[in-house]
């Protein structure tokens, strides 16, 4: 790390400093400068770590969303079908019994069937498998590092970066490499080039950035921990374990819901024929 104040550099070409003296002059840093240099180094290291963590978080989110999509298409739709037969059965019974209880049960079963249908066929079900290329990961990491809102210098900058970070995350989740390239190209060549005035101001800014980056890393860790406790993540962990054992958990789940669908449909068909016989 060189002294950034660069005093006397203009004279370098004209004044014939002895080689050793020139070297000494360049290396001599004030304690503040040394601290700033050390903090900048630490910041660079943490920013790099943060970019890794952001990549991990974004990947986990995208993998979970993709797994949810797969689950809904394979198993969710069968639950919706099961609920549909349950609703028809309840409606049939309500029609035959005519009691308020039976009618209420039928209405409840119908609501449940509608909810299950829209859940199983909604936007979440359309998400396709997430297989990020090494290029996509590298682009995301670069973009996250450059855009990160927690390394902003002021509020306006922060807002702009937050907006950009959202775009970066969205582009990653959809595997849109071109979007990431566009965002990267649109950024200043070196956002850190904008400096405050004086070492003291620089140091304060770097310390603030350090705190922000550390907070964000801690927040990501917490978010990953919370995410891993959700039903979705637990189910995915089970499915991954089954895959490692050469089984397909979603197929097994689908089979058992399918069996229930068949039983319920048969029950409905039996009762509806009984009804017409009467």
């Amino acid at each position: 790390m060189r002294c950034t104040q660069g005093k006397g550099e203009d004279d370098e070409s004209t004044i014939p400093w002895p080689v050793d003296m020139k070297a000494k002059l360049v290396r001599r840093l004030t304690p503040e400068e040394e601290e700033l240099a050390a903090k900048r180094e630490e910041l660079a290291r943490l920013e790099s770590q943060l970019a890794d963590q952001e990549l991990l978080l974004a990947s986990l989110k995208a993998e979970l969303a993709a797994f949810e999509g797969l689950y809904l298409r394979r198993v969710g739709v069968l639950y919706a079908e099961l609920d549909e037969w349950n609703a028809r059965l309840a409606e049939l019974r309500a029609e035959q019994a005519g009691t308020p209880e039976a009618k209420a049960a039928a209405a409840e079963a119908r609501t449940q069937a509608e909810d299950a249908y829209s859940a199983a066929h909604g936007e979440a079900a359309k998400i396709q498998p997430f297989t990020p290329s090494p290029d996509l990961k590298r682009l995301y990491r670069d973009a996250a590092k450059r855009v990160h809102p927690d390394t902003a210098t002021d509020e306006a900058d922060r807002d702009r970066r937050e907006r950009l970070m959202k775009e970066v995350n969205a582009a990653y989740a959809t595997g849109d490499e071109d979007a990431l390239r566009r965002i990267l190209a649109g950024l200043d060549t070196s956002p850190d080039a904008v400096q405050g005035t004086g070492i003291g101001a620089d140091l304060i800014r770097v310390l603030r950035q350090l705190k922000q980056v550390r907070d964000r890393i801690a927040a990501i860790e917490l978010e990953i921990e919370c995410m891993s406790e959700t039903d979705l993540a637990q189910l995915k962990a089970k499915a991954d374990l089954a895959t490692a054992e050469g089984r397909d958990l979603l197929v097994e789940m689908a089979d058992s819901v399918q069996a229930r669908v068949i039983v319920t449909r048969q029950e409905f068909e039996k009762e509806s024929t009984n009804g017409t016989d009467r």
Partner: protein
């Protein structure tokens, strides 16, 4: 956003069925069903252990707990049928046994298909119907159940009731069972080849072989009047029928 605000924002939705909506509720349901299935599996294991220790009442209680958690578990349906058929740990009830066997058999469980076929043959829990018996034996036999293969061969061999006599089919199923090491099927196959012209003595030997096999392989059926009666009632039909044709 300060630290505490951030933490609040990150607290996940409470895992309560009421707060789960849409896709989340379907995922939660899948997990709950998986847990119930795993628990039912545990009950099955426990019950089988009790069964092996001949503690049938405990076994039956375990199977009942399991079936409540996973009503479509074909193995649990089958073992419930077994205890009800034999009257072990629970009052004997052929009709209920047949009901459980049917549920499991319809899901493709070869043991249940065999047992249901057997109840049709014996006329226990269901009216005696050899064609039905043959149908279920066939489903089971096609999955490689050697007893079912033997019994299906036996039904074709004798041309029982509403099953048409067919030596080729009989030989085919005996052979499959014999290939799996079923000694009675080997014997029956030998008889079928040797006495292809069909003297009644063959059938009597087959029948006695069948009865012997039953007492050997299914000792719990010993002394079951149903089994003996069904074997004996089958006997006159076989022996009285003039048998012709060769293979």
């Amino acid at each position: 956003m300060n630290e505490s605000e951030k933490q609040i924002a990150l607290v996940p939705v409470q895992p309560s069925a009421l707060t789960k909506v849409g896709a989340k509720s379907l995922v939660a349901r899948g997990r709950a069903d998986l847990r119930a299935k795993a628990e039912a599996e545990e009950w099955l294991k426990k019950g089988v252990d009790f069964q092996n220790e001949e503690r049938y009442e405990e076994a039956y209680a375990c199977f009942e707990s399991g079936i409540r958690l996973n009503p479509n578990h074909s193995k649990l349906q089958y073992v419930l049928g077994v205890l009800l058929e034999s009257g072990q740990g629970v009052p004997q009830d052929y009709e209920q046994a047949a009901e459980w066997y049917r549920k499991a058999a319809e899901q493709g469980d070869p043991d249940a298909q065999y047992s249901l076929g057997w109840l049709y043959m014996a006329g226990q829990g269901a009216p005696q119907d050899y064609a039905q018996a043959a149908g279920w034996f066939r489903k089971s036999a096609e999955q490689g159940h050697s007893w079912a293969q033997h019994n299906l061969g036996w039904l074709y061999h004798g041309g029982e009731g509403n099953v048409p006599q067919d030596y080729e089919q009989a030989a085919e199923w005996y052979r499959k069972s014999a290939e799996q090491g079923d000694a009675d099927a080997q014997e029956s196959l030998g008889d079928l080849y040797r006495d292809g012209d069909g003297v009644p003595g063959t059938m009597l030997r087959l029948l006695s072989g069948f009865a012997r096999r039953l007492s050997k392989e299914m000792p719990e059926r010993n002394g079951h009047s149903g089994v003996c009666i069904s074997a004996v009632t089958a006997c006159p039909v076989i022996t009285q029928k003039p048998i012709s044709g060769t293979i």
